[in-house]
């Protein structure tokens, strides 16, 4: 038990800190999405002169918003699932089922991390974005590489994998009877409002 708790705390600390930073960046990202689209609305409909970059910039922000805040939603139990079986089973069996589900999720995420790494370092990533520029070290405006956008999902699945690892250890500790020694995770901040 001590070993499991010892393994858990650095993961918990990492997730506490990194996911909070991710949430802060996601808040900025969603605000930037609104600003970018409103700029486009103004230029397209008021000045009759649409700009090339706002649509892509807003998508850039949306992808990073998703990658950075989805792990927090997962950690707080915000991913949609039919949890009737887990709730209906006796405690011990429910814990075993939870562990199995976390293993399946872990396999999917491990796969995604591997594929994501190949994607952001592979051939496709050398392409450039259509209209987003940045100032390089030589103080020249150059087009952003597409991998800066593609990395959003890769970072997202890496963070989800680490959260999954933490949840797995927590489930294992609970199954072994140490549930009362775990610090509570924050409750889901919200229901799935899209419904």
């Amino acid at each position: 038990m001590a070993l499991l708790l010892g393994l858990l705390w650095p993961l918990q600390l990492f997730n506490d800190v990194v996911l909070r930073i991710g949430r802060a960046i996601a808040i900025v990202a969603i605000a930037l999405m609104v600003v970018a689209i409103l700029i486009q609305v103004f230029f397209r409909y008021v000045l009759n002169n649409p700009l090339p970059w706002p649509d892509e910039a807003a998508r850039f922000a949306m992808l990073w918003m998703t990658g950075l805040i989805a792990p927090m939603a997962y950690r707080r139990g915000g991913f949609v699932a039919i949890d009737m079986a887990v709730r209906a089973l006796p405690e011990r069996l429910a814990a075993i089922l939870s562990l199995f589900l976390l293993i399946v999720a872990g396999v999917v995420l491990g796969w995604a991390v591997d594929l994501g790494w190949n994607d952001v370092t592979g051939f496709m990533s050398r392409a450039k974005t259509a209209s987003l520029y940045y100032l390089n070290a030589d103080l020249e405006w150059v087009k952003m590489p597409r991998r800066w956008m593609m990395s959003s999902l890769f970072v997202g699945v890496v963070l989800l994998f680490i959260v999954n690892l933490e949840l797995f250890l927590r489930a294992l500790i609970t199954m072994l009877g140490g549930g009362d020694r775990l610090a509570p995770l924050a409750p889901p901040e919200d229901e799935l409002m899209a419904e």
Binding site: A105, G116, M150
Partner: protein, 491 residues
């Protein structure tokens, strides 16, 4: 072999694997077993490509607009307005609850937001008036399903994106069905009023309310501008009117609208006028969204961003109900809920690829067509299936999973894709209020403190009328198709 991905997926889903992982695990495992590893790479890439979409951006924007409006205190204004309009009808506050849901639906597009916002206000008020708590919670949950049917609607954006339909057409097609659900519920309330011995109804018009000068003049101009613009559309200006003629028509419409308002002013009390004026600012949101899309001014995504800007202007500049310190929380909630949905949609696009690789729709189509060749019988059966699915799964994920499988079958049978989208959306949305896994039942229970099972029993008469409406929508396509056809969004 790939056809096995469906049973494997269902197995994962039923044992409690989050839908996002299930959508990737089932096809991933089978592709791996079939040695199609290149397609697994495609699976990952399609998640990314599925999320990297301009139309999808409407989801976080509409969520944000709804959050901002809610935080800005518009719920109380809508309820006051509904109470002044319909409080005197038999079933008083229950009717007010339904009308408030219809109005709220034009702002948020979320049944959960509707239940929590209106429920926390109306359930205690109904209890105080003498309604039982279970009845109050049941009518709140039943009417909240109107939220995702009347535009803007998160699930319709998802459907449109996953199935390649027009968001605007689906939005327009949802208006009449949403109102029909509301009217059906109102009739049911009237029908059960005597049996349930509902308290006597009374119109409540809040006395002595005042408006800040900024809001007064803002709503003054908005009402006249809206009516004036509508009237100007009927002005005989010829096929290609000049800008001057259009401005003159708008100005004329504005003056006529002002005259109409002056006429109405004498017919109603000052308090009633004030309550109506307080509802003008929030009710402008659906006008802005739908008006912008219909007039061809905005795309749905841009309309959603404009709705966010409007909600910010209202909250900070007109009603002064929001503080800067409220923003991080609001933005965070919208970002988090959108992220979950966006990931699901990305996974759905990957899932869709495997659906087509596996020939599942063709195999299922053969099975379904073997049951009957009559589209009406099949539509009946599919409604039963959707209703059962809706009892266990939320509307968004259900649409993501079943849309790509079922829609092509019924489109081939001659059902219009927009009509089928509405059948599916309304049916699965009603599923949000059905036990055992009704999301809004859980929220209504949390808000009211009543047990889920008790609410689930009390909601049955209202669910019955919603089922009747589902079948009406199914067998009378004109209910959903008339507005999109009249406006030219559907041929």
């Amino acid at each position: 072999m790939l056809i096995w991905f469906l049973p494997v997926f269902l197995f994962f889903l039923l044992i409690g694997l989050p839908v996002f992982f299930g959508l990737l695990a089932a096809p991933g495992i089978l592709l791996w077993m079939a040695g199609q590893e290149k397609d697994i790479t495609l699976l990952y890439r399609n998640v990314y490509n599925g999320m990297d979409s301009f139309p999808l951006m409407a989801i976080p924007f509409f969520m944000l607009a709804g959050e901002l409006m809610n935080k800005g205190g518009i719920t109380v204004r809508l309820v006051e307005f509904s109470q002044a309009l319909m409080g005197h009808l038999r079933g008083g506050l229950a009717q007010v609850n339904i009308l408030s849901s219809i109005l709220f639906a034009g702002l948020s597009g979320s049944a959960v937001a509707d239940t929590s916002a209106l429920g926390s206000m109306l359930i205690p008020a109904m209890e105080k008036e003498g309604y039982t708590r279970r009845f109050a919670a049941a009518i709140t949950a039943a009417s909240s399903v109107i939220g995702p049917i009347i535009p803007p609607s998160g699930i319709m954006i998802i459907y449109a994106y996953v199935m390649g339909e027009s968001v605007a057409a689906l939005f327009l097609a949802g208006i009449v069905p949403g109102i029909l659900v509301g009217v059906g519920l109102m009739f049911m309330v009237r029908a059960v009023a005597d049996r349930y011995e509902l308290p006597p109804a009374r119109r409540v018009v809040i006395a002595g309310t005042e408006l800040r000068p900024v809001e007064y003049w803002f709503s003054f101009i908005l009402v006249r501008f809206n009516i004036g613009w509508l009237l100007a559309q009927f002005a005989p200006l010829g096929p290609e009117p000049s800008d001057t003629a259009e401005w003159l028509a708008l100005g004329g419409g504005f003056v006529v609208a002002h005259g109409l308002m002056l006429g109405l002013r004498r017919a109603v009390s000052r308090d009633f006028r004030m309550v109506c004026k307080r509802a003008v600012v929030p009710l402008q949101t659906p006008i802005l969204i739908l008006g912008g899309i219909l007039a061809g001014v905005f795309t749905p995504t841009e309309a959603a961003a404009v709705a966010v800007a409007y909600a910010l202007i209202v909250g900070f500049g007109i009603l002064h109900t929001m503080k800067l310190s409220d923003l991080p929380q609001v933005l965070s909630r919208a970002a988090m809920t959108s992220a979950v949905v966006l990931l699901l949609v990305g996974a759905a696009m990957a899932f869709k690829t495997v659906v087509s690789l596996s020939y599942a729709p063709q195999i299922l189509a053969e099975f379904i067509l073997a049951l009957s060749e009559n589209p009406l019988v099949l539509l009946f059966l599919i409604n039963v299936l959707l209703f059962i699915v809706g009892m266990f799964l939320d509307a968004g994920p259900a649409i993501i999973i079943l849309g790509p499988i079922l829609a092509p079958i019924f489109t081939d049978l001659g059902v219009h894709p927009v009509h089928f989208a509405i059948i599916m959306s309304v049916n699965l949305t009603v599923g949000l209020a059905t036990p055992p896994m009704g999301l809004v039942l859980f929220v209504a229970s949390a808000v009211s403190g009543e047990r889920v099972e008790t609410i689930a029993r009390a909601i049955l008469p209202f669910l019955a009328i919603e089922v009747v409406v589902i079948f009406l929508i199914t067998f009378v396509p004109a209910i959903s198709m008339t507005i999109p056809r009249l406006t030219g969004f559907v041929q």
